[in-house]
Symmetry: C2
Subunit: 413 residues, 2 copies
Amino acid sequence: MKRNVLIIGAGGVAQVVAHKCAQNNDVLGELHIASRTVSKCEAIIESVDEKGAMKVPGTFTAHAVDATDTAAVAALIRQTGCQIVINVGSAFVNKYVLDACIETGAAYIDTAIHEEPDKICETPPWYANYEWKKREACAEKGVTAVLGAGFDPGVVNAYARLAADDYIDEISSIDIVDINAGSHGKYFATNFDPEINFREFTGSVYAWQGGEWTENKMFEVGREWDLPVVGTQKAYMSGHDEIHSLASNYPKADVRFWMGFGDHYINVFTVLKNLGLLSEQPVKTAEGQEVIPLKVVKAVLPDPASLAPGYTGKTCIGDLVKGTKDGKPAEVFIYNVADHKDAYNEVGSQGISYTAGVPPVAAAILIAKGDWDVGKMVNVEELDPHPFLGLLNHMGLQTSIRDADGERELSFD
Amino acid sequence: MKRNVLIIGAGGVAQVVAHKCAQNNDVLGELHIASRTVSKCEAIIESVDEKGAMKVPGTFTAHAVDATDTAAVAALIRQTGCQIVINVGSAFVNKYVLDACIETGAAYIDTAIHEEPDKICETPPWYANYEWKKREACAEKGVTAVLGAGFDPGVVNAYARLAADDYIDEISSIDIVDINAGSHGKYFATNFDPEINFREFTGSVYAWQGGEWTENKMFEVGREWDLPVVGTQKAYMSGHDEIHSLASNYPKADVRFWMGFGDHYINVFTVLKNLGLLSEQPVKTAEGQEVIPLKVVKAVLPDPASLAPGYTGKTCIGDLVKGTKDGKPAEVFIYNVADHKDAYNEVGSQGISYTAGVPPVAAAILIAKGDWDVGKMVNVEELDPHPFLGLLNHMGLQTSIRDADGERELSFD
């Protein structure tokens, strides 16, 4: 039994995490949230109070911390007595927060792979460059670290494991498809931090196919998908965190990630990229000012958090898993459909933040209850998916399946 | 007779002006060039030396000056004994250089309307906001100031006057068409300073139609033009300097300006504009740095001067003037065709800089010889076009005409 949660970060996903922790504070205990800007943390706590989200009376406290300062994070963990850390800060801070957990023994949960500000799309498997180097340290100290426990990575890793456990004997391919069929009504916007969003697509697209890493350019490989609820949608092979762990855990399967993009998004992205405006390397203006173009693009785009009130439509994210069952070809599509407006009404966020923010709280609950408190570093597909997906069914993210028997919701109760 | 020329500016157009002044230094006398960065002036003089462009032995000297410092410019005019100033610096410096000429009595020539850095597309007639306020001062002191003496504005104003003098009795419309059918081989580039280039298209498009100013959005009104040499080209109604004076001098005629744009240019422009990246108003990055987006776009785009060596193809710029002749409907298209490669071979610049840089030197020669030394402020259409166009025919910019009698070169000898 672990109790008391420290949330690192105060962006759109942290907002969802905070609300969901509050809704489950009978299990999770005292709540804390910390970021560089304490006023952002306070605003999130205020929104929790406004919704009356705390299940039982309890504390929710805001702190200022520089999350790249391991010693400061460790001190905060000790000071607050938190045994579980949910890291939903920028992907740039992961390794520092993880080190603080190893130092203090707190359980660690994150939702994205570590990134270095000056590098994009690192060589696969990306986890091996940072997080996995701490596997032994976690095992030695018995520290539970659940990597990539958002939706994708996260829930989609659990979907792959569920397919392997319950539906397919020999998996030949895992295709993760992420479609946002919603509309924010702006000329152009990214659904999370533009800096991280664009970085995903400016380098090489890695996939695991035929037992080896393959490399493509972004938007080089695209195909149409016929999906539940959102219908026919075009998605492009993209680099993504979960490929890097699923390829290690299912080396005999092809593992690919497909992200949906409209023609308009691709056009804007292509113009910005070709002009050099997505570069993370500084340029000098005629007046001699040093500027990183990507940071200026971020500055002119709408704040992703500002999109929530007007966002309509649905997302559909799932795994198409193919292989054999009882010696015959079989395939399942395991998926979730989320609604932007429902998410906003419940926690004040859009659907992308909602799908990313609910799962790490489910993981925290499973660690608090012991089911997932494994005392080592794992990716989500290494854990039993049933309690996780069962919990998510009751927390707003229903798992469904489409197979030879049709489309239906899955129950894990 | 006026002698000795001071060139203000050291960009792509200044390069052409310098070469053409050198080729005519028997008439123009001693040559000087000044800009904020003296090394740019020195590089231009070096290129003049390399081509052996000086017609007769003479001096060509580089100076450093802040052209927004009227006193400094006036001191430089006095120190060098220059009686003619060719201002091809940024459009932001016009009013300061003009004041220095009024103070010292030197003749003033520029190629673009004055702009304030924080304003775009000012209300018509734009000249009335700055230059024309100095008309009386020029007249009182007998200072010759020829405004907008590049190609457009400049030569196209002379074409309108030529049509009025020689071909059309009553003018009903003047449509200026500017087509660059050349190719620089880059993904995207502007042919002159991107900051000035984009500013032309981000505000309202003013035209003079039916005896009043009309206002449209950029790319709202477009049509195809069938033109000599470059063929069928699409051009869009755009705001441009010469409309603001031609509408005053030919108030009974509709006056419009049409700029050719390919679909690719329009797409890139539209994306940048809609995202707010063409704004001249500062934004703040997440890190708190204040940045003007347009200056960052300028920083990532190719330097226009760098396009010259690989530029191929031709430009076609001219006036379609309609009206009546001897009581019958008549129309003429008076135009020039310039070749990018020819321009580069002669003066090391691309065709856009060439067409802009040759005419102010022709104007300087006419002032030196007395023909255009009118002792007051004028726009080009207020001057006799024949000596100007005659000189340009011998300086690399041949005037041609297309009318009921077909296409042919015009001679003014």
